[in-house]
Amino acid sequence: MKETSPLNLYKFLPQTNCGDCGEQTCMAFAAGLINRERTVEECKPLFDEKKQKKYAKKLAKLRDVIAPEVALVYIGTGDKQVKVGGEDVMYRHQMTFFNKPPFAYDVTDSMNEADLVERVKLIDTWKKFYIGNWEEIEMVAVRSVTGDADKFAKCVKKVVENTDKPLILCSFDPKVLKAGLEVCAEKRPLIYAATKENWKEVAQLAYDYKVPVTLRAPFDLDGLVSMVLTFKEMGINDLVLDPGTAPNGEKLQETLQNFIKLRRAAVEESQKDFSYPVMALPINAWMTTDDPVRGAYWESVISAAFVCRGADIMVRHSIEPHSVMPDMHMRFNIYTDPRTPVQVKPGLNKVGKPNEDSPIFLTTNFALTYYTVESDLGSNDIDCYLLAVNTDGIGVQASVAGGQLTPSKIKDAFAEAEVDFAKTSHKSFILPGMAAKFSGELDDLYKYEVKALVGPEDSGRIPGWMEKQWPPKK
């Protein structure tokens, strides 16, 4: 969406201020649409069957105006469905990047059944806790290595039996793709890919089975646009583009430049005719080496390049933790909404089922710090209280240095949370190790009636600390 003024969206709304959407006024709703915090479907009157005559035109216009610059494509069904594309900006600070590129990890029809099931389950269950959320792998890409339609169909069947994550069906042979679609079309997989050679047959498949389709024209942007325009004319609009991913050398430079060109044409030049989500293939890193460490590392760096600059979906291979973890965090960081403060509400929270004997920890209200400490406590079954002190969302180390966390602020925060230390059996709380230097001053502030214990510098070490230090010696 290029529109930045709520006024220009307001004219397409009912202008009745009915309040059904939760906003006081239609103008406020228009502002929400501009920020992409609200969706058009939330304006119920626009969709009221009885008011179709009145609003149909407005709705169509509104949809046109607020459509994202990079088209949004849905792959899969149900709660594991992924949104691909839908981006509006070149640089994340200009608003935010919206839909993090799903990682599709590959499996092949040449794998034996046991290996296949094991890998699918690994993909399906992989998770990592980060800032209050579980990061997961979103998709599975099934590659037809054998070229055999029956083997492919069997493989796809095995995959869908073991995961409900959306699939990418990968083959250049329409017969193979058809065999896969026969198994799982109702799950709305993405098919890969239509090329200059097979596009007629693949278009027929996309039409017959109503699934999104990838158009591939490696290192040929003219050819890519020509395919897009042709498919759109056929009425096939759920498209993903593969402009080619070269894993090394000068071609890698060209690859990144193509991604930049496509994103710029979409969001800076509004060339909506062909602005669809773009696919990167970091998996191609494995064509440059037989060394598994080198392969995983190079796949990681290539992924990072495309996460920053314009990939909307990726096919990857290395599922080793040393490669998945950093790439997940990298993607998370780039797709974090810079408009949302990364803070939690200050105050006292319970972890597990604490009582008067339970320890009381404190940390800052920087979301990353808070959730890390909370998860370290919770996952180690430590029943306790955790105080989030308002440091304007600054972490422990920086807020100790910058004066946002001070002994008197800690005392005030406990008072505000109405913590009565007299009712605890231990009459103490635990300072983060990074704030150790406050312990003396806190003892003075509390007139030695409450003890400020010094915890470890990293909350991951709290379980070990508890073994040695808890309960405190009288």
């Binding site: 600070h93 037809s144 490696p218 430079q253 600059r309 933790p321 950093p326 960081n333 972490g395």
Partner: protein, 450 residues
């Protein structure tokens, strides 16, 4: 009777009423057909299945009518049916023409992809020379130039004139570090000169940074005069351009870095750093007096960066070609998003003509090792998937921290792990087209066994 009736409902209702004749009974309400033909309009497949459904309904209707004794068979005479239900051929033809049929064209449409460059990028980033040769008043074997960009990193708008460079950290005393880093420096940690040599000769460092951390009053409180001897040793040991860092103590650093400038007279060493929390004027002036380059360090705040750069130029008199910025590196998974966007905004500001921001940028990439995911053996969260081998995990943390910020505009990286250094150099130079390699045929990636 506004409710919708299905055929089976109708059957049931009629059966319940035990009617023998339809006299006096009318079927009320609209017969509603909802057609969801999807993206492609009504196509041949849809028409086929729809036709089949309608035919089934018709058969049921006919049977029902028969059950009520209506002379259905008369209707089923071909002519009668045609008269009863078919629209006139004219209308049929018109209606068919109005429905877009799915049709695959014979050939692909011809098209041309076109995209412009960013016309707002009018200002070149200042080029800064690090190091000086003998003829230039220093003692380095060669010089390194950073900055000079006319576009965002690796964009096609304009080629990058200088490649990003890496300076490896050397400390003036042994320090604690992650296992995956320490293993590479165990043998040289007691001798900064050997450490610097190893960094350059074995690990391919473009520069080395000597951190005089022992000067911190809380560590060893080494005097400035004593500490800078290490700088002399390093200058002797290697002939690459150097960076000199203090301990981070705001009072002591002014004295230590001023002294360091003196021993590095004329070397165009990068002095790390001037900040708004200390006497930036003294450090800036020391750099000017000794022909060294001043690193301007701020903490994730673009306006503070502008203020410091302005003061260094206007008050301390540091020339434009002697300023590099360090806008702070928050590591991957530990606020990297702030560092990334801060740097991206700074670089875009510089390219658009902000004269207080168009300087090269430096990143303390080593900060990556402060993130628990980089060094911890296993996850403290029992529900996490396995974290794998930390010896493999850590270096990637440093690579991705640095490389992400390279995408945002960083020109010089302060790093430690030699594997990370190699990868960072390889990927940035690949994206500049500097590394010639035979690109494999990616056409058949689908069928490649890996």
């Amino acid at each position: 009777m506004g409710e919708k009736l299905s055929i089976s409902d109708l059957n049931k209702k009629l059966a319940e009423m035990d009617v023998k004749s339809l006299e006096g009974i009318t079927i009320e309400g609209d017969i509603e057909l909802e057609i969801d033909a999807g993206a492609g309009g009504v196509g041949p497949l849809f028409a086929y299945y729809f036709g089949e459904e309608v035919a089934k309904v018709a058969v049921q209707m006919v049977n029902m009518a028969k059950a009520f004794g209506y002379p259905v068979d008369n209707l089923l005479q071909p002519v009668a049916v045609a008269q009863a239900v078919s629209p006139a051929p004219d209308e049929l033809a018109k209606a068919a023409a109005a429905i877009p049929a799915f049709k695959i064209p014979d050939t692909l449409k011809s098209a041309k992809f076109q995209v412009g460059t960013d016309k707002t990028w009018k200002t070149q980033i200042q080029e800064v020379q690090l190091g000086a040769t003998k003829s230039e008043g220093g003692s380095r074997g060669h010089v390194i130039k950073i900055g000079g960009e006319k576009a965002m990193p690796f964009f096609y708008d304009a080629a990058m004139p200088n490649r990003p460079v890496v300076t490896i950290d050397v400390f003036d005393m042994p320090i604690g570090m992650a296992k995956a880093v320490k293993m590479h420096y165990d043998d040289v940690m007691s001798d900064p000169a050997d450490w610097a040599k190893k960094a350059v000769k074995e690990f391919g460092a473009d520069l080395v940074t000597t951190h005089l951390i022992s000067t911190d009053p809380l560590i060893k409180d080494t005097s400035a005069k004593e500490a800078v001897k290490v700088v002399e040793d390093v200058l002797q040991a290697v002939d690459v351009p150097i960076v000199i860092g203090g301990s981070g103590n705001p009072e002591k650093d002014v004295e230590v870095l001023s002294k360091a400038c003196e021993v590095a007279q004329g070397e165009r060493a990068l002095i790390a750093s001037a900040s708004l929390n200390l006497d930036w004027e003294a450090i800036g002036k020391a750099c000017v007096a000794t022909d060294n380059v001043c690193l301007a360090w701020t903490q994730l705040e673009i306006n503070a960066q502008k203020e410091l750069d302005r003061k260094l130029m206007k008050v301390a008199g540091v020339p434009r070609e002697s300023i590099v910025m360090d806008p702070t590196t928050a590591a991957l998974a530990y606020g990297m998003d702030f560092a990334y966007s801060n740097m991206e905004r700074i670089r875009l500001g510089g390219l658009k003509g902000d004269q207080e921001l168009n300087f090269p940028m430096s990143s303390g990439t080593t900060n990556a090792w402060g993130v628990r995911e980089a060094w911890m053996v296993r996850s403290p969260n029992k529900n996490d998937s396995d974290w794998g081998d930390r010896m493999l995990r850590g270096p990637i943390w440093e690579i991705l921290t640095g490389f992400s910020l390279a995408m945002a505009g960083v020109d010089i990286f302060m790093m430690m792990n030699p594997i990370a250094v190699t990868y960072l150099q390889e990927i940035t130079q690949s994206l500049m087209g500097l590394i010639k390699a035979e690109t494999p045929d990616t056409a058949n990636w689908i069928t490649t066994e890996v």
